[in-house]
Symmetry: C2
Subunit: 362 residues, 2 copies
């Protein structure tokens, strides 16, 4: 398919998908909606293309798919399964390499465009990490770095250009875009079909409504990691600490779509431990190093640590969970580093490849 046709497909894309889905609006009363599940928290084409991918990539990768063959290590000295995000992310990247190669053989070079504004060192580090990750699987990345003094109009014109550019399949607006610039206006401007970061209001609204959209990368990575280890969410009590737009809220919605009962805690929650002790699945995004200790966790819980904190005198990131006291109690747990972080990056790559496949009808 020639690139000139891609734009039209892009614009028609959500409309087409809408015809394929069931009514998610429902009545006032609750109703189970199993059809929603794979749509709302995993971009649909994963399903659509899964057969091709599994058949062809298997030959390449020598595995029977990412759900099989994940490392089954225990946390040292405990019976807790180590949820090895690094290894699962690596398997996903291997698959993506294959899919990218396939696309490139058809003349399509998946491309992620990144907008970076200002000189925040952490933002620069994140962008470099993401660009390198793209490169590692063959995705082209384009980083546009603007000074903090750039005009809103210039940024908006860039978003418009990327929306219209058939050679760009995903756009990431690196947070934060500082005031007086209007980050929200940029997010609204980005076409949902290219929102591979999954955090525009349009993508979040689709998640609530049970419509196809790219999932926010961190919660999508957590769901994917639990899936990789065949840890069911159905009927479980999932407790999420944190209500941010990029983690807590979409995480809760994705767990709901998987038929978990969901509790969302946050900084204003009273007696936090009374909730965390009920969790079959506990996701911590507290922002306090090793805040979650053994006495806050139910024996047998699956514990996901989405924290990364800098602690003076220690090298590297420190999670929100005190592994030493929590791991002996838990049935499965993510490490920091090597747990949620690599999955987040892998999901950004996956969303970008999925977007390239979708936008080009490949």
């Amino acid at each position: 398919m020639p690139p000139s046709e891609a734009k039209g497909l892009c614009l028609g894309f959500f409309g087409i998908l809408r015809f394929a889905q069931k009514d998610k609006r429902g009545g006032q009363n609750d109703a189970p909606h199993p059809v929603t599940l794979s749509i709302a928290d995993t971009p649909r084409p994963i399903e659509i293309h899964s057969e091709r991918v599994s058949q062809q990539s298997l030959a390449l990768l020598g595995t029977i798919g990412v759900m099989e063959g994940v490392p089954q290590e225990k946390v040292a000295g405990t019976s807790a399964l180590l949820l090895n995000g690094k290894a699962v992310a690596q398997q996903i990247r291997e698959r993506l390499k294959f899919r990218v190669a396939q696309l490139r053989s058809e003349g399509i070079h998946p491309c992620l465009a990144v907008m970076l504004v200002g000189d925040d060192p952490a933002s620069h580090t994140y962008v470099r990490t993401k660009a390198r990750a793209c490169e590692s699987v063959g995705i082209r990345s384009v980083v546009r770095h603007y000074p903090a003094s750039v005009s809103q109009a210039e940024l908006e014109a860039q978003i418009d250009a990327w929306n219209a550019d058939p050679s760009v399949h995903g756009v990431l607006i690196q947070h934060p875009v500082q005031k007086p610039l209007d980050e929200s206006a940029l997010l609204h401007r980005l076409h949902p079909s290219k929102d591979v970061d999954g955090i525009t209001p349009a993508s979040l609204g689709a998640l609530v409504a049970g419509e196809p959209a790219f999932g926010a990368c961190t919660p999508l990575g957590i769901i994917t990691l639990l899936d990789a280890y065949k840890l069911s969410m159905e009927g479980k009590h999932a407790v999420v600490i944190g209500r941010s737009v990029i983690l807590g809220k979409p995480m809760a919605l994705m767990f709901l779509n998987r038929n978990a009962t969901v509790t969302i805690c946050h900084s204003r929650t009273r007696d936090l431990a009374s909730y965390t002790r009920q969790a079959d699945i506990l996701v911590a995004a507290v922002g306090k190093p090793e805040f979650i200790t053994g006495e806050m966790v139910k024996p047998g819980a699956v514990v996901v640590d989405a924290g990364y904190n800098r602690v003076e005198g220690r090298t590297g990131d420190v999670g929100d969970v005190d592994l030493a006291s929590v791991a002996p109690l838990s049935s499965a747990i993510t490490p920091v580093p090597g747990g949620v972080g690599p999955m987040t990056v892998a999901m950004l790559l996956q969303n970008t490849v999925v977007s390239a496949e979708r936008l080009t009808g490949s």
Copy 2:
């Protein structure tokens, strides 16, 4: 302001409001965001206009605002406060009458346009109720009734026309629009500035992102009713039974924005009573008559019954809560009828008036 300018304002409206808000996106870690509260679950202009309304409507209504003077009855034979949605809704309507009169004196006639497709008797009843409610406060309502055989294109052209029509301030697409018609496509087409029902993906996304949008009428009505009785949500455990797009999910998000800790239960929840017994605030949208009984409720709980069920041999709607066994335990409870139902209709009217004020800059 001449009507011809209204369309431009309409289109610029969300953009303008975005400049006024703080950054809600936040980092990965949780952070309190008190500024969000009144924005996300109550359309902003209520705040903006509150001074004018409170000063002028007070003189008219002879009260010091809807928060005062609400009936403080007890449920017969108990110490439970009866949350009289009918009376609170009536006070809101009185206020709205004044605001509508004010608008009409400026040559602006608030107007709700309703799209009704097919011959579902319940839908016809709902539309009649809403149209009559509009009339009661001076809002003009326009109902366009289409046969089930109408084409999608004709419906979409109507939505486009209403989006562009400066004399229309709110649009309601009566659910359900049956297949093969695409209700979701209609919702996507409706401009968020006229989505007074608050259930389009754009409005739901704004609710997640903490941006200004019309709140879905039923959960917004519940929040407003609790506010009217000065029942704080801050730090409370709110348990919502139901995960529909029109009630459960936006309800949970609104409670979160009010700093409640929120649990969402649904048909796949195991041991439902173990959750409901923890609720400081319990919202039931189960769809089973008198399903919530005393042994499922914590003493002192605030209980909101969002159910309306038809039961053979009984006249009128029957709620999801067994009032006889629950009221003696609860500190406050809504009746059915006369609780949530009238609040839902009042919120539709309020959203329409707010929209007329916003779109005309009045």
